[in-house]
């Protein structure tokens, strides 16, 4: 109940697709989604493996609530060892693909090995096959999805695929489903490309059974009302996540010009007001909002580019509506690179979806390249004649396309900030943790965010902890360790249930546990979910330690630790990681070197993973 109790295991080297029963003991301990996928990854992959070798595995996972009537239940996640970071990767996506995979009858899809030729995986309930994708190799995400649907005469089919970026190993290539939703971070698309797997196409007709249907309906109805009435839901529906750009601007936490500044002069030209204004050509950027499967929030944005804009002026193929700006895309293509041209930002977003790349990592990598260029360490000859100065909209649009197509200077940007800055002799300019680029929050202003970035198991990430409330009450490192740790555990549980994190603005863990309890075997409480979250966080940490990461990787770039914020609420402050990190390790029950102790691991039923004599 809740779970389909079935795993599909695909060995691309052998060309086999076999189903096996879900390990229900693990389901009881790790819930599903992120947690269960992590448990299976640990069981199938040596953490020391080269992420782009056939020995790495790619696990697609739904949660027990995926595909049910619970709001936002279309989620799935992809767990693997990430090429960008060398750490565990866990990328979560919305759209409709997750629910469809569940309707095929599977909780998890484990992909191993490497196919000799390009293939795509076709799943139609129990009918599973590997299909030739030679003609699709080199195609965009959009063309791939269209072709596969036409080939199987099924508009209802849901497709998750990679573009050229994934095929060519762009370190932050993502997996795109439903044309503009993505398992975005850490390079999961590059892992898929390394396996010669172009796409997974799913068409399912099975439902999802729940434990107590009548109670389930009652609980879902009650929780939906709570969500519906909550002010945060209304705000997300009305403005999307983009409204945070004005908040971060006022607060002084909006990283600008590769984090040299924390406020951006051009913010009024890319904010929620700007996207609904009619420009001098009579064009309005934002068309409507859009919901993922079963979502009653509908934060997604659908936009279109002014046909007169230089990026598309003779390119009618880009005049259609597609995914519009959200906070992170607006940050990464806007302040991060100093660009305030709304249509250029929207075009860059199209490139990310069409070619399959993580917008945050791309934008922050371009920002690093711009700083290197302004310092004279990269020359105009190297950038294919493009003036890579901060603020140049053409540099943004051209480089987004070149990187997606793996052409010219785009091949350098494909390295990600860390490798790029190392190559050009200034590793300090890479705004990353564990090789993954920061999201749009500056950790001198949001100190708990800095701690969450530094300790993130997948590297810098704003979605695996939630310290916003305490961060905006006090611009110091004081009291941030506890909420950081607790929210990391709660979010690990939410990600594992198969629903969207944005429900957490209205629902607490009790609300989610009530729905899991009505759907799934066993008795589920907030406490049990929190404990599962803590188990999952520690297992991810153990994977990373075995992969060779250490406490030295729980750090931030010198810019955030030594260069004070130049303006805003945190003017004059640096991130107080030195204060927060020891408190955090203690809060977690880890040693001073960030290693989970045997006692902790026994309490979490992770005794199989005890590291003897942790220093």
């Amino acid at each position: 109940m809740g779970w389909q109790r079935k795993v599909l295991r695909v060995d691309l080297t052998a060309g086999t697709c076999e189903s096996e029963p879900l390990n229900m003991q693990w389901a009881a301990q790790y819930v599903g989604g992120r947690g269960l996928a992590t448990r299976y990854l640990v069981d199938n992959v040596d953490p020391a493996v080269d992420p782009l070798s056939p020995d790495n595995a790619l696990v697609f996972a739904t949660g027990p609530l995926s595909g049910t009537l619970v709001s936002t239940s279309g989620r799935y996640c992809v767990v693997t060892k990430g090429p960008l970071t060398g750490a565990i990767a866990c990328s979560n996506s919305g759209g409709k693909f997750g629910a469809e995979l569940k309707y095929c009858g599977y909780d998890l899809l484990i992909i191993q090995g490497r196919s000799e030729k390009p293939v795509y995986l076709l799943i139609e309930d129990d009918e599973v096959s590997l299909e030739d994708a030679s003609d699709l190799w080199g195609e965009t995400v959009w063309k791939t999805e269209e072709t596969i649907k036409a080939r199987h005469r099924s508009e209802d089919m849901k497709v998750a695929s990679i573009g050229v970026a994934g095929e060519r190993g762009v370190y932050y290539a993502c997996i795109v489903n439903d044309l503009h939703r993505a398992a975005g971070r850490s390079g999961v698309g590059a892992v898929m490309g390394s396996k010669n797997l172009k796409a997974v196409a799913a068409r399912g007709t099975r439902g999802v059974k729940v434990k107590e249907p009548t109670r389930f309906m009652q609980v879902v109805d009650e929780k939906n009302r709570k969500l519906f009435e909550h002010g945060s839901r209304r705000a997300l529906m009305r403005y999307g996540t983009l409204s945070m750009i004005d908040v971060m601007q006022k607060f002084g936490g909006l990283p600008t010009n590769n984090f040299q500044k924390v406020q951006f002069e051009g913010v009024d030209r890319i904010n929620p007001k700007a996207v609904v204004e009619t420009n001098r050509n009579g064009h309005k950027n934002l068309l409507t909002n859009k919901a993922c499967f079963g979502c009653t929030i509908a934060c997604g944005r659908i936009a279109h580019i002014d046909p007169n804009h230089f990026s598309v002026v003779n390119r009618q193929e880009y005049w259609h509506a597609s995914g519009g700006l959200e906070y992170e895309t607006a940050f990464a293509f806007g302040p991060a690179v100093g660009v305030d041209d709304l249509d250029a930002l929207t075009f860059a977003g199209y490139m990310m979806n069409e070619h399959g790349m993580d917008p945050i990592s791309f934008g922050v990598t371009l920002a690093a390249a711009m700083e290197l260029y302004e310092l004279g360490l990269i020359t105009r000859e190297q950038t294919d004649g493009i003036d890579l100065r901060f603020g140049n909209a053409e540099a943004l649009t051209v480089m987004a396309e070149k990187t997606g197509k793996y052409e010219g200077f785009g091949r350098e940007l494909a390295l990600g900030s860390k490798r790029l800055c190392e190559k050009y002799g200034r590793p300090d300019l890479a705004m990353v943790v564990k090789g993954q680029e920061f999201a749009g929050y500056d950790s001198r202003a949001l100190q708990g965010m800095g701690l969450g970035y530094a300790t993130g198991n997948r590297g810098a990430c704003h979605l695996k902890h939630d310290t916003f409330d305490v961060d905006m009450e006090d611009v110091s490192g004081k009291g941030k360790a506890k909420p950081c740790k607790h929210s990391q555990d709660d979010i690990a549980a939410i990600d594992s249930a198969g629903i969207c994190l944005f429900t957490a603005s209205a629902w607490d863990l009790d609300d989610i546990a009530a729905q899991v309890d009505a759907a799934c075997e066993g008795s589920w409480t907030a406490e049990r979910l929190h404990d599962a979250g803590e188990r999952i966080w520690n297992l991810e940490r153990l994977f990373n330690l075995r992969a060779g990461l250490t406490a030295a990787d729980d750090t931030l770039p010198p810019r955030l630790l030594k260069e004070p914020a130049p303006s805003g609420t945190a003017k004059g402050k640096v991130c107080e990681l030195d204060v927060m990190l020891p408190e955090y390790y203690a809060e977690r029950g880890w040693t001073a070197n960030g290693v989970p102790t045997p006692d902790l691991l026994r309490r979490l039923k992770l005794e199989d993973f005890i590291i003897e004599s942790p220093a």
Binding site: T241, M244, D246, K250, E326, E328, F468, M472, V475
Partner: protein
């Protein structure tokens, strides 16, 4: 007395411009009084006075003066 409000995000436009520029308060009013008087009080997460953050617990003890600049921001969630 009057204070100058600065609203952002979903709170922007919640008051008409003239009121936002010069919001009337009784002399001796606190930041808590100000927030409580707003029709969107439950959506105010962050408050600062003249650039200095004031946590919710300290709003009642923060007396406002004529001409103070008060920034009010809504709750933030990742995205």
């Amino acid at each position: 007395m009057k204070v100058q409000l600065d609203l952002a995000g979903e709170l922007e436009g919640a008051l008409d411009e003239a009121l936002e520029a010069a919001y009337p308060l009784e002399t001796g009013a606190t930041l808590e009084d100000l927030v409580a008087s707003l029709p969107f009080a439950s959506r105010v997460a962050l408050t600062s006075v003249n650039g200095e953050l004031v946590p919710p617990a300290e709003r009642a003890g923060r007396t406002l003066s004529d001409g103070d600049e008060v920034m009010l921001l809504p709750p933030v969630k990742g995205g």
